[in-house]
């Protein structure tokens, strides 16, 4: 697989470390009353779809940026690649 890094262009997926579902960006509020249940779901449960999947890849052997890669888990085709910091900013996070 080749990942089209937004800053560096096409890079071999072997340069990256995989973390999993991009929803891991959305860390729950630790002060919320239901924090225990929210963290259980955040940490352990996954949608795990067969088809389009948004996921986090870390460019460990490159510029060390976190990417959100939209990839098809049935074909391994990569549809789009964004910087995870841009995605977090769009969601109103202060990064």
């Amino acid at each position: 697989m080749m990942i089209n890094h937004p800053l560096l262009g096409l890079r071999d997926a072997a340069e990256f470390v995989y973390l999993g579902d991009a929803s891991l960006i959305n860390r729950p509020d630790r002060d919320a009353p239901d924090a225990a249940a929210a963290f259980y779901e955040y940490l352990h449960l996954r949608d795990n779809p067969a088809g389009t999947h948004r996921e986090l890849w870390y460019h460990e052997q490159g510029d060390r940026s976190w990417l959100v890669v939209t990839r098809n888990t049935l074909t391994h085709d990569i549809e789009s690649v964004e910087l995870a910091s841009d995605v977090a900013r769009q969601q109103g996070r202060d990064v």
Binding site: Y18, L19, D21, H44
Partner: protein
């Protein structure tokens, strides 16, 4: 029809006209006591033991493709019970005992070959860890022998003992481990279940679950709707996809694991050998091919094929520990889809939905578990209580903090 040497002789003398198909091809009934979703090794074993041990025979096994078309036909055929934790090891030792009596139990040649499993160690710390593991194994009734360097040399003189980075210091040997003909396991269990009245329905895909006031009362399939008092899902690799139809989210990611086989060679490897400093394991099939594998590719996948970086990684591991395999040519490689659970351990449990049961999350250890998985799942379905060796394999264990973290790596499926 019982298979025996006498039967072969009789059929041989009468033109082999008396052989019948190993199982029937029945039409689905409208209702069963138990419907098992998934006709792989675990599902068929569950049906076999439900009928044989619990006398529950009004059972159907629904299979989307053909019997044994999933991971039971795609693994590297290794059986062993060399786990450590109390939540795991007694379960795998039960499985080992069932493997030992399997062929007599279901009257089918599964080519169970107890040729031994050798885990190599490469440092003092690793030897200490293996001593602990060996003691854990023996406490469960399993066998474990600690070998020093000379002991390993005697058994496997072809290994690379003087590797500068990872010299071989010894190994943990389980003589009762070995290999089993994987397809024959599915066929034997299918035949055993069928002969006791279980309906095996191939080309029968489950498209949804019938719910009545929050209780699961049956399934919708590509061959019509089927009512059931209990629905038992057993579809490792596709667990998330199937359970999503019942509204459940699981602590599982699906990953691809690749396996490899070389051209056929004369016997060179006595048993199963695993590299302790990288992820590489190898055995030799009865046909002579070297069967080996390593790590999962490490990203979510349902594609049943992997990528080249892992091929390179596995072959590097092989060359590091066993340089002679560089002379063999790779014949085939393939991928299977694993349920990677968050702690690397499986589930055999009821779900929050009454009438719906779940078996999955086997990571890449499902094949060796086949008999015990069927045995314990059948026990759960028949008695509604977990079998004593499967009490830790609960679906809610991440909520309650009772993980079975065999590798001590925590909640990261791509690390297991």
């Amino acid at each position: 029809m019982r298979y025996s040497a006498l039967k072969i002789l009789k059929e041989g003398l009468s033109g082999n006209k008396g052989w019948k198909p190993a199982w029937r091809e029945p039409e689905p009934k409208t209702e069963y006591d138990v419907v098992i979703v998934g006709g792989g090794g675990h599902g068929l074993a569950t049906a076999h033991y439900l009928a044989k041990e619990h006398n529950i025979t009004n059972v159907a096994v629904l299979e989307k493709g053909w019997v044994g078309s999933g991971n039971v036909g795609r693994n590297t055929t290794i059986v062993r019970s060399n786990y450590l934790l109390p939540g795991n090891q007694p379960f795998y030792e039960l499985s080992m005992k069932l493997w030992e009596g399997l062929e007599q139990d279901f009257n089918y040649n599964a080519m169970v070959s107890q040729r031994g499993v050798l885990n190599l160690c490469h440092s003092d710390a690793q030897r200490d860890a293996y001593i602990r593991r060996g003691n854990g194994m023996r406490m469960s009734g399993a066998d474990a022998v600690l070998l020093d360097e000379a002991g390993v040399k005697e058994m496997c003189p072809f290994l690379n003992f003087d590797n500068a980075r990872f010299p071989i210091k010894g190994g943990l040997w389980q003589p009762r481990g070995g290999t089993v003909r994987h397809d024959a396991v599915a066929w034997g269990y299918a035949r055993g279940a069928d002969s006791r009245g279980v309906d095996i329905l191939q080309q029968c895909e489950v498209t949804g679950f019938q719910m009545d006031n929050g209780t699961c009362v049956g399934v919708y399939t590509s061959r019509g709707s089927i009512k059931a008092k209990k629905v038992a899902v057993c579809v490792a690799g596709s667990s998330s996809r199937v359970m999503e139809k019942a509204g459940l989210r699981l602590p599982i990611e699906s990953h691809v694991l690749q396996a490899f086989v070389s051209e056929g060679l004369k016997p060179v490897i006595p048993g199963v050998v695993t590299f302790g400093a990288g992820h590489f394991y190898i055995s030799q099939s009865d046909k002579g091919g070297l069967v080996f594998g390593g790590d999962i590719d490490g990203y979510n996948s349902y594609a049943q094929r992997g990528n080249l970086p892992v091929v390179e990684d596995v072959c590097e591991g092989g060359m590091a520990v066993m340089p002679m395999i560089g002379r063999a040519r790779l014949l085939r490689m393939w991928g299977g889809i694993m349920d990677m659970s968050m702690d690397g351990s499986p589930f055999i449990d009821k779900t929050d939905v009454p009438g719906l049961y779940f078996n999955g999350g086997w990571c890449y250890g499902g094949f060796k578990a086949t008999p015990a998985s069927g045995w314990c799942y059948a026990h759960l379905l028949a008695t509604d209580t977990p079998h004593e060796v499967a009490t830790a394999m609960r679906l809610d264990r991440f909520m309650t903090g009772r993980m079975i973290d065999e590798k001590g790596m925590g909640a990261q499926p791509n690390l297991h």
